[in-house]
């Protein structure tokens, strides 16, 4: 108790000495000599140099074995399912357009509706399968690269995209492989560029949430 009271008394006297110049008659000249190391943009009450504070924007506690962003395998199903559904929607609209165009000469009757519905379902299924298998190949290559290299960055994205393009058009012989590879390289590079746009054109960028 005695120590505490003495301590508080010491603090009070210290504060008093700091503001001792608060007695009437101080001018800006007196204050100009006060060093501002204790004043930081974070808070004027910090008496720690903020350079020693690690400002990590994600203050999360991670359990053992977890990493900060989702790995490729966890995102794979979402990517594949999303591509399937996107393909289905696009194919459905495309089928609707094609069906209406091809049955333009028919009157509005049951056969015409059946034709249009058939076009919609066929095109929807076809596009969904195509986009889904492309996404599956891309995810599989991405996971393989991630596990093989032990690291995760955009090189995985670009490499996986290129290989996907190459494999997808492998039925067309060597020329098909080259063309598919080029298309895959272009698309995945564009995607990687889009992801890192802030980082490239600007200096400050924290770990943005990236969905691969």
């Amino acid at each position: 108790m005695d120590n505490n009271s003495q301590g508080s008394g010491g603090v009070k006297s210290g504060l008093g000495s700091l503001f001792g110049g608060g007695s009437p008659g101080y001018s800006n000249n007196d204050l100009a000599g006060v060093s501002l190391t204790g004043m930081s943009p974070l808070s004027p009450y910090l008496n720690v140099d903020p350079r020693y504070l690690a400002q990590d924007t994600d203050e999360f506690i991670l359990p053992t074995g977890a990493n900060k962003t989702r790995g490729r395998f966890e995102l794979a199903f979402f990517t594949i399912g999303g591509s399937c559904m996107t393909g289905a929607t696009f194919g459905a609209f495309n089928g609707l357009r094609m069906g209406i165009k091809e049955t333009r000469d028919m009157a509005w009757s049951k056969p015409r509706n059946v034709q249009i519905i058939n076009m919609v379902t066929r095109q929807g299924a076809s596009w969904a399968n195509t986009l889904g298998s492309v996404a599956l190949l891309y995810s599989a290559f991405g996971v393989v690269f991630e596990k093989a290299r032990g690291a995760e960055d955009d090189l995985n994205t670009v490499a996986a995209g290129t290989l996907t393009g190459m494999l997808f058009k492998s039925a067309g012989g060597l020329k098909g492989v080259a063309r598919g590879g080029l298309v895959g390289l272009a698309l995945s590079s564009a995607y990687a560029l889009y992801n890192n746009w802030d980082h490239i054109t600007n200096s400050s960028s924290s770990a943005s949430s990236r969905l691969y």
Binding site: P63, T64, G65, A76, F77, F78, T79, I80, G81, G82, S83, C84, M85, A125, A128, N129, T130, G132, S133, A135, L136, A171
Partner: protein, 163 residues
């Protein structure tokens, strides 16, 4: 700790669709590769090319039909969860039955009923296995019964606590 954590309900549909597509494409791919390999003229080049062709043509189709099944199942499941307000195995079984019925809708009511029964029984089996597995793994974590030195110190057996 790597546990299988499911997404919340709207995104669960996309996840399940993707998972079903993957299962269908890879499983179908393996089957079609073997089938194409076998139904080919003699000579390893022909056989490999035939297997690769079969995979290229049929695997996306099989994956696509699995994806439709999985996506529809998950949609109905999420809808039931939303309506009923709780998650339990009955949702899955009902969803399986309804999915089977809807996907057979073009073939008439009798086939719909048969397909619904197949879907419901399949899901009931899956859920049953899941429940048994949960009970089995939970047994390992049960606390051992505390020892009492003097049997007369034990509390009376039936305390009406339920359970």
């Amino acid at each position: 700790m790597e546990e299988y954590i499911r997404e919340p309900c709207p995104w669960r549909i996309v996840d399940d669709c993707g998972g079903a597509f993957t299962m269908g494409a890879i499983g179908g791919g393996v089957f079609q590769a073997v089938k194409g390999f076998r139904n080919a003229p003699a000579g390893i080049g022909y056989r490999l090319r035939s297997g690769a062709n079969a995979v290229r043509v049929r695997a996306p189709q099989i994956g696509g039909s699995f994806a439709v099944w999985g996506g529809l199942f998950s949609t109905i499941d999420c809808g039931l969860v939303r309506i009923r307000g709780k998650e339990d195995p009955w949702n899955s079984i009902t969803s399986g039955a309804m999915t089977g019925a809807i996907l057979a809708a073009r073939s008439g009511p009798l086939v719909m009923v048969g397909s619904a029964m197949m879907g419901g029984i399949l899901l009931a089996l899956i859920e049953g296995v899941g429940i048994l597995l949960t009970r089995y793994t939970a047994q390992q974590f049960q606390n051992a019964a505390p020892f009492a030195e003097d049997p007369s110190q034990l509390p009376p057996k039936d305390r009406g606590l339920g359970l």
